[in-house]
Symmetry: C2
Subunit: 579 residues, 2 copies
């Protein structure tokens, strides 16, 4: 009782999720009915076949098929459903365009890769639940998704209610509820939580996604980290190798210094190198100018054997990219076979400086060095991205830079609690969210130098992707109020229920949330989280199968006391409305 | 490290989710610091105490406390958080008003009953997952909640998108997705699915709720029923007794005939009795009139020893209720101690008729018989409700009618596939949903007498509540099209993706959905599903803790191209908008 797939008129190949098997159709006249039934069928029809399993004759074994040594000699066939002629074969589905795959998702999911992804997802999630619920006493609590808009929740979908002008909001995470559960005495909470985020057309984001949401009372940072390491290790698929714990840690400061990013891919080197000292008193004008600016520095990455792999057009591409995205010049130094440097400004460098440069970069013949001069807060992230771009370019040349079979977990710690607001740098905003507790020894700084306070926040990074983040939370109501009111200038009345709860005997608590879709996509090596989600939306947030979102008649909107405001520039839109 | 609760100045009682323990505070001068720390604390503060566990002195054991034979002799105390003075004690929470409990849900959840309910819910769900995923090879697949409005989905919340005039819809169930997963070759699917239904202010309904959603390929009705029986048995809490399988079955016809309802509470008798033959050729005018109408009948229920328990005011209440709700007269017959009948029309009954009536009702001295004459489609549901009302009245008098420790599961089968439309009885609508397959032997009737077709639908009933419903689905595209288009007169283009999928090699399939909240509330004996949900909405759909839903500024609505239509009768509303 399997999906059907013809090969030729004597055999058919049957498929179900577990694999393929060859069915032999008897050719003798007395069984002509059976043959006729098979011949009338279309590919992908559903049949129930009864027959005998037999070894294939000597010499007819198929070593490319796990059932290649046997075949089924059909005795009866029942056609359970026929299929129309499909516009493509299932095994070719993965090569089709994203849009076609999404439109016919129910066919796309029949592919071996998608079956593997969805079934593995289910198994990993089950193991996670066993670990949390059965081994560690966590309570699986479902929290509401129809909630109140959070302060500054610009990315929250709104849901009109029957009360005029009043809306629910689909929360980005159960953050408030998990903390309230700690106050409520559910000392160990977890949930595979559906979360919502309206980000328009960001690539590889989904308007709804799933996080493994965890919160514990009476726990410290190390306690959460050990729990998560155990969770990952316990649920890790056997065919993906072993995971060693504890995971390495790195401070935020170190990550940004060495990798130019707070989620470093530690599967490969090419770290950022600070060359500032090598260029002290340099003749090179643009470097000299950069170094006198506040935070001015000169930094580099070295691409081993880069001269061999990267072409002139690659350099051009990288230079243009840096110029347009960051307004920065990238200088490239080639280390020649004889150890001499080829660079636009090499003649301006003293031999000592050249020597120092090579030594600091640990460069040798054939390497490329990318150099950028400018303020540190621009140079670091730029080089961080350049590093990843170079890795990609090298991989296209067949160099194994980031081994896809390696899984490098990393904890990043000691984040700043606040960052300058992007649009108003004199004000502060939470680096993560306003509920993160300060590092205890920095607590006093809250009232004097809040920008210097580190938060008890921890990010879990896997192969350069942030797959989780969490923190020890503030459990003291007056500290929470001070941060909301005095530091962040938020209206605390919007969170009065949480402040009251913290003031009602809240235990110390902390937690974490893991991005399940992202984690899964890295485990299976999928290029997109869409490959580990059964029915994902397109990058524009559309369901291409059912055509959601869709128009709703004004009549159907009446109970919600809303009406559509058609954009004035596009009066055509109004006529599309089938109301 | 527990919640604190004072008793007197020498002892404190500590509480966590696992229970209470008594802590002894040393009174000697050398430990005055410790005493001082305790005395400064408020009730419900959070402390970490270290000390020695000791047996209480002889004669001071507390048999009402599971830890009543021991106490902790405190050596150190660390105050982790203090609590403000709370407006009520936790142990009195359950007696408070619903509104107060909801506003301070984080305190309400500290009660022993709510801790039990939430923790049991987590355990039962975990057992269900083990059964489905680990024992039966089901795949846990998450399906989207931002979807397209389904045809006639009047109870679906809408979610405005960034595309002008286009809305997502929060689906009432993953029905389409679970069927598409069958087409996709996920042969056994389950999900603890969040579902949404906008029903305004229906009592004991929630705008979001959870169902155990299951679908299987290559299964028949019995296959689904056996699976669910195993699931319930496996996940049933040990302290609630044993569940025997298979569950009894009853046809829809039988249920309506005997109990006046399709979800009979079989924990007690008082079944409907048809007395029509006893009243053939009766002199009683209103009965004679009722009997000549189409479908006219006279039916009754007998309340054993009803004369002893039900008072005159109870009869009055029931009569008034029947009159106002159904426009029907209820006649009451008292069976006197001597076996004679007391009734307004007993003088109009012949002795033979009286004898026949007593015999048919199996009535004896002290019983009450409620009689209703009228069309069957009114009399049956009315008597069905009267039966439940009588049970409630008897229970208020202390008679055990519905034993709360009994769990009577029942499958109700052979539902009609279609019912006359309530507002247009000449048209048909699906009794459950348009995807239910007809009973195979009734398939031909689809094209000739569709109203006679029975569906392969099954309801699971527990103690008179429907806790689940499912069906074998239509897997034939042309049959599905015929039902949508010709019988139901729905626009099939809205479901074209499903019809195409059925035509692409869909296996035969069927499934079920269990209402988790309702099931849990019956298991724990809670009066409302709100008692098994961590953060429920009020019956008007409000979150009383955070005050959701709430106003959203016109500015925040702009990206969604909607604006609020304020009701013209209430211009005040507009001024409430803080925009």
């Amino acid at each position: 009782m399997l999906h059907l797939h013809f090969r030729h008129d004597l055999f058919v190949i049957l498929r179900d999720f577990s694999g393929l098997i060859q069915v032999l159709i008897p050719q003798d006249e007395s069984r002509s009915e059976l043959k006729k039934a098979f011949l009338g069928l279309t590919v992908e029809s559903v049949v129930m076949i009864k027959g005998r399993v037999q070894r294939r004759p000597e010499g007819q074994h198929n070593k490319n098929m796990s059932t290649g040594e046997i075949e089924v000699h059909a005795e009866t066939i029942e056609v359970l459903n026929t299929s129309r002629k499909l516009p493509f074969e299932i095994k070719e589905m993965a090569k089709k365009s994203e849009a076609l795959r999404m439109k016919y998702r129910y066919l796309d999911l029949r592919s071996g890769a998608m079956q593997y992804n969805l079934r593995l997802r289910s198994q990993i999630v089950m193991k996670m639940r066993e670990y949390l619920c059965n081994l560690h006493g966590f309570v699986d609590v479902e929290t509401p998704t129809l909630f109140k808009r959070t302060p500054g929740g610009a990315k929250e979908f709104v849901v009109p209610s029957g009360d005029p002008g009043k809306f629910y909001s689909l929360p980005q995470s159960p953050q408030q509820f998990k903390q309230l559960l700690m106050v409520a005495g559910i000392d160990r909470y977890f949930q595979l939580a559906r979360c919502y985020r309206d980000e328009g057309s960001k690539p590889d984001r989904q308007p709804e996604f799933t996080q493994v949401d965890i919160e514990m009372s009476f726990v410290d940072q190390a306690g959460v980290m050990r729990l998560i390491e155990g969770l990952v290790q316990y649920s890790w698929p056997k065919d993906k190798g072993q995971i060693n714990v504890p995971f390495p840690t790195m401070t935020y400061e170190q990550a940004v210094k060495d990798y130019g990013v707070d989620k470093p891919d530690t599967r490969f080197g090419m770290k950022l190198i600070d060359l500032t000292t090598a260029f002290q008193g340099t003749q090179i004008e643009f470097i000299r100018e950069a170094l006198v600016e506040p935070g001015g520095c000169i930094q580099a990455i070295r691409v081993p054997e880069g001269t061999k792999h990267l072409k002139a057009k690659d350099m051009e591409y990288l230079k243009t990219w840096a110029k347009t995205q960051y307004g920065q010049e990238v200088s490239v130094i080639h280390v020649r076979a004889d150890g001499s440097l080829k660079s636009p400004f090499s003649r301006l460098l003293s031999d000592v400086a050249k020597e120092q440069l090579l030594q600091m970069a640990q460069a040798s013949a054939g390497d490329l060095i990318f150099i950028i001069a400018g303020p540190q807060e621009i140079v670091r992230p730029l080089l961080g991205k350049l590093r990843l771009q170079c890795a990609e370019l090298l991989e296209r040349c067949g160099v194994l830079v980031r081994d896809p079979s390696l899984f490098h977990f990393l904890w990043v710690l000691d984040f700043p609690l606040f960052l300058p607001k992007e649009d108003a740098p004199e004000k502060l905003e939470s680096a993560h969210h306003p509920f993160t507790a300060p590092v205890p020894e920095d607590s006093a700084l809250l009232y004097t130098h809040p920008h210097k306070v580190r938060g008890q926040h921890y990010d879990l990074v896997l192969n350069g992707c942030e797959i989780g983040g969490g923190s020890i939370r503030i459990h003291n109501a007056s500290q929470q109020l001070y941060i909301l009111d005095t530091i962040l200038k938020e209206n605390p009345s919007l969170l009065s229920h949480l402040l009251e709860a913290l003031d009602s005997g809240a235990p110390p608590h902390g937690g974490i949330a893991l991005g399940l879709d992202r984690l899964l996509s890295i485990i299976v090596g999928a290029p997109s989280i869409r490959d580990v989600i059964a029915f994902p939306k397109s990058f524009r947030g559309h369901d291409l199968m059912s055509c959601a979102p869709d128009f709703v008649s004004e009549e159907d909107l009446k109970p919600y006391h809303i009406s559509v405001v058609w954009p004035s520039t596009n009066t055509q839109g109004q006529q599309d409305n089938p109301a």
